[in-house]
Subunit: 228 residues, 2 copies
Amino acid sequence: MKKSQEEINYNPEDYDRPSVTTDILIFAIDNGKLRILLIKRKQWPFEGKWAIPGGFVQINESLEAAALRELEEETGVKDVYLEQLKSFGDPDRDPRMRVITVSYFALLPSTQINVQAASDAEEAKWFSVEDVPELAFDHAKILEYALERLRGKVRYTNIVFALMPETFPLSQLQQTYESVLGHKLDKRNFRKRLLSLNILEPTNKKNTGAHRPSLLYRFAKRDLVIFD
Amino acid sequence: MKKSQEEINYNPEDYDRPSVTTDILIFAIDNGKLRILLIKRKQWPFEGKWAIPGGFVQINESLEAAALRELEEETGVKDVYLEQLKSFGDPDRDPRMRVITVSYFALLPSTQINVQAASDAEEAKWFSVEDVPELAFDHAKILEYALERLRGKVRYTNIVFALMPETFPLSQLQQTYESVLGHKLDKRNFRKRLLSLNILEPTNKKNTGAHRPSLLYRFAKRDLVIFD
DNA sequence: TGAATAGTGTCTTTCAGACAATATGCC
DNA sequence: GGCATATTGTCTGAAAGACACTATTCA
């Protein structure tokens, strides 16, 4: 195995405190499917494997600021839903050194999915969450946990607002719910429930396109609302 | 190690990575009220203020192991419900140096609440969560977040099992729910619902004491069960 | 027998879930 | 007119919530 400069220079005796990173799971809906942005590693360890983007927390930077910085480096966008997920810190999760990572997830409105990775030469790619490649480090575990959290919150909050464009037809909203939850929903029951929650407002516009036009809705509040 | 937050002699020039601690919110029911174990600080900063117990994560120790070690140092108990809460890492949350803390909460069965702080000279005390003194650092924010999480989980999991003794009358269980949620519940509706969830089993014992004896129940599973 | 706690049932309302036919616009 | 998508309502069952009286033991 090829060893990188990092590994060669690493001397355990020099350190008695762990490194801290933030990893950020960037989700968006594209083509009706929930997708996550991954980057391809170019160095040992896990060279060639896909990974959740992340980076070190600077000494004067809050955790959330570090996550936002990573997000902006990868996507160029900044003003999105961001939530801390969990911290992962098993001593051997990174073979180079002790690294504790604070994971965050971000939800991008689907209008922003085409932002190209602003970063230099890094290969970044969107993957359907149903078809994710083998991941580096313990990232598979982190992704699994993120999906669990997201699926949980979809049930009792309006969190999907963060995945939707400004206005949208109800069918697109239903598709978003379905792709997050991983199963189909009944159209009539879905519309009945969503409209009864009073979190949507109709616009006076219809979307153009083939076939019967549909009324466009918008979220009344683009902030997290917890039901009950 | 001990003397968590008392490491002094901080020299900013020596470090470019943050220190990492775990803080552990230790909850138990006593006398019908939800209580938290706090320790009194003896040194700057926040000398004399009460704080959530915590300490540094050792370089070869997992986050959960660090939290369990803290728990055992404070209470002597080890086999309790433990869940990671959230990480807090604002750059100025500790005036001595950059400290990122990974918070956990533990739930103790009320039979174990009388364990005295095994630690040396540290003053530790149980406080009703309704009557907590001013806290050091950002610990008020952490406690608030913990209560929010706990109250949320009480609704859709059997998490209260971790606060209950092996067997108990339904009235005691109801009191536990009430003290976690912060409001009264209807006795008939409470019993109807709890018994319909199939998470309780009746024992064939009744509790002795003054007045009419009550049937004792036990949790069928002492593991977290998510409803739905 | 009085005090204290245990135990129990009905009604109403709300919500989830199953289920299929009509309406509208585009080509 | 044919196709594709939008839109709409009823019934049923389950669960939540309001609400008050009887039962049992002990002192």
